[in-house]
Amino acid sequence: MAILVIAEHDNASLKPATLNAITAAAKIGGDIHVLVAGSNCAGAAEAAAQVAGVVKVKVADAAHYADQTAENIAALVIETAKSAAYSHLIAPATTGGKNFMPRVAALLDVAQVSDIVGVEAADTFVRPIYAGNVLATVQSSDSVKVITVRTTAFEAAAAAGGSAAVENVAAAADAGNCKLVGRELTKSARPELTAAKIIVSGGRGVGNGENYHALLEPLADKLGAALGASRAAVDAGFVPNDYQVGQTGKIVAPQLYIAVGISGAIQHLAGMKDSKVIVAINKDPEAPIFQVADYGLVGDLFEVVPQLTAAV
């Protein structure tokens, strides 16, 4: 039995989410192959070959993989899956994996099991539904299992220690129909939200973008933390969309999550309730966030946050 993990990468290196997906593959059991589709992606392929547990890396290096369009990646995954009888095709449940994997499943005429948080058997998986308020155990009867993995539910595989063979594979035909015409990536020297050990997250209570920056950035700087936000804070334009934590934003599980001026709606809790330690700062003692917080501080965030920044 062999499993194909589709790597998420930036051509030069692997994204951490790939390492979590590899651990999920290891839980299922079988030889693990990694597919790296990119443009000038030798660096990422080399990194994949060093991940513990990977036995083969397949590299498709072509200009039409530069933008990672769903049409082109899905077509390549289908070609690759045909060439070897893979039992499972696995990608991290990032916006990348979520974009192309269902295309793969439909083209293979199989179901996709989205966002798994547990492996019970090679055909049986646990996945959250209803914003994580319910866990469903599902069994797939399809010949090939197409799976996306919730990265916070699986440890990262060791990035070193492996020595997989690297093999070039032919690129699939370029669908040629989509053109990437713009990219506005948030630049930040801070850790990536989904990989951070500490997250400082702000909600509507912070009031506006200036307050968000003036209050939360110094605290995050001192803690070496990533910055997050509720949907309300993003909708109001305090911070860009990629800060959003929740059911429909990012799923995070840091060692410490500090929620500032966030009420704790179920859609927000869905994205952070697996954090090891949760701190809530809110002036409303009845705010639902206190029901999940390990340490709750009832108070005005405009007084409390500067004190906290000074004290840590």
């Binding site: 369009t69 769903a70 049409e71 990032t94 916006t95 979520k98 974009n99 192309f100 269902p102 295309r103 439909a106 005429d109 199989v110 179901a111 996709q112 099991v113 989205s114 959250p128 539904i129 209803y130 914003a131 994580g132 319910v134 866990l135 469903a136 599902v138 069994q139 797939s140 129909n177 990437l180 015409v181 713009g182 990219r183 506005e184 990536l185 948030t186 803690l223 949907r231 860009p240 969309n241 990629d242 059911q247 429909t248 410490l256 309730k273 090891k276 330690v277 949760i278 701190v279 206190f290 029901q291 390990d294 340490y295 709750g296 501080l297 108070g299 004190q307 906290l308 004290a311 840590v312």
Partner: protein, 249 residues
């Protein structure tokens, strides 16, 4: 140009669902049902495109139990011109829905299909992408801005690192993210008008689509509850606890 908008009937987002005591499923008897919020955004976007003179007709479609008629009426109250229900009591999984939608696209010949990026019940985030694959159409998922000009759509997408803008030829599938628009409230006159708009009902068998589920749910359970912790007196108390008790800073 015709736009097709699939809409799903789901448990309202304000309801906290309960697992049945025998663990076979979620108890949705007697809970409030609504249109999936992302689909409401899809309907709103299609109606705005019609109001802007880009689209000529907006057709809302739904697959599921007879109660989905209500969801279609809501779509028509926002401004969809007519509705089609693929009626079945069977459990429908995303692949089956995508196949039903493909059959409807073959029949209706829209230039654009706009769907919600995910349904808030199964949180699968699959149907739009699957439909695009079955049709061999390009896709632009997680849209926060859609501009249609001539035979192309320019779509800004919310991705993990920020935003990216794709230009794709029509026909195409677009899925909506939360910030694409803010759906209007249906006014009473529009709700009354929606009752008179055409609503056709068909069956999966009419299209020869096999909707049998591929995934079997063995059990459902509630996740381990997080215990509420303690309230701390002040910042000094908080910092002491984070350092000495939780040891996370």
């Amino acid at each position: 140009m015709k736009i097709l908008v699939p809409v799903k009937r789901v448990v309202d987002y304000n309801v906290k669902v309960r697992v049945k005591s025998d663990g076979t499923g979620v108890d949705i008897a007697n809970v409030k049902m609504s249109m999936n919020p992302f689909d409401e955004i899809a309907v709103e976007e299609a109606v705005r495109l019609k109001e802007a003179g880009v689209a000529t007709e907006v057709v809302a479609v739904s697959a599921g139990v007879a109660g989905c008629q209500e969801t279609l009426r809501t779509a028509m109250a926002i401004g969809a011109d007519r509705g089609i229900l693929v009626e079945t009591d069977a459990e429908l999984q995303p692949l089956a829905v995508a196949k039903l939608l493909k059959a409807l696209v073959d029949k209706e010949q829209p230039r654009v299909v706009i769907l919600g990026k995910q349904a808030i019940d199964d949180d699968a985030n699959q149907t739009g992408q699957m439909l695009a694959a079955l049709l061999d159409w390009p896709q632009a998922t997680f849209a926060s801005k859609v501009v249609i000009a001539g035979d192309r759509a320019t779509v800004t997408r919310e991705v993990d690192g920020g935003l990216e803008t794709l230009e794709i030829p029509l026909p195409a599938v677009i899925t909506t993210d939360l910030r694409l628009n803010e759906p209007r409230y249906a006014t009473l006159p529009n709700i009354m008008k929606a009752k008179k708009k055409p609503l056709d009902t068909v069956k999966p068998a009419d299209f020869g689509v096999d909707v049998a589920p591929r995934l079997k749910t063995l059990k459902v359970a509630e996740p381990a509850k997080r215990q509420a912790g303690v309230k701390v007196a002040d910042v000094a108390d908080l910092v002491a606890k984070l350092k000495n008790e939780a040891k996370v800073i």
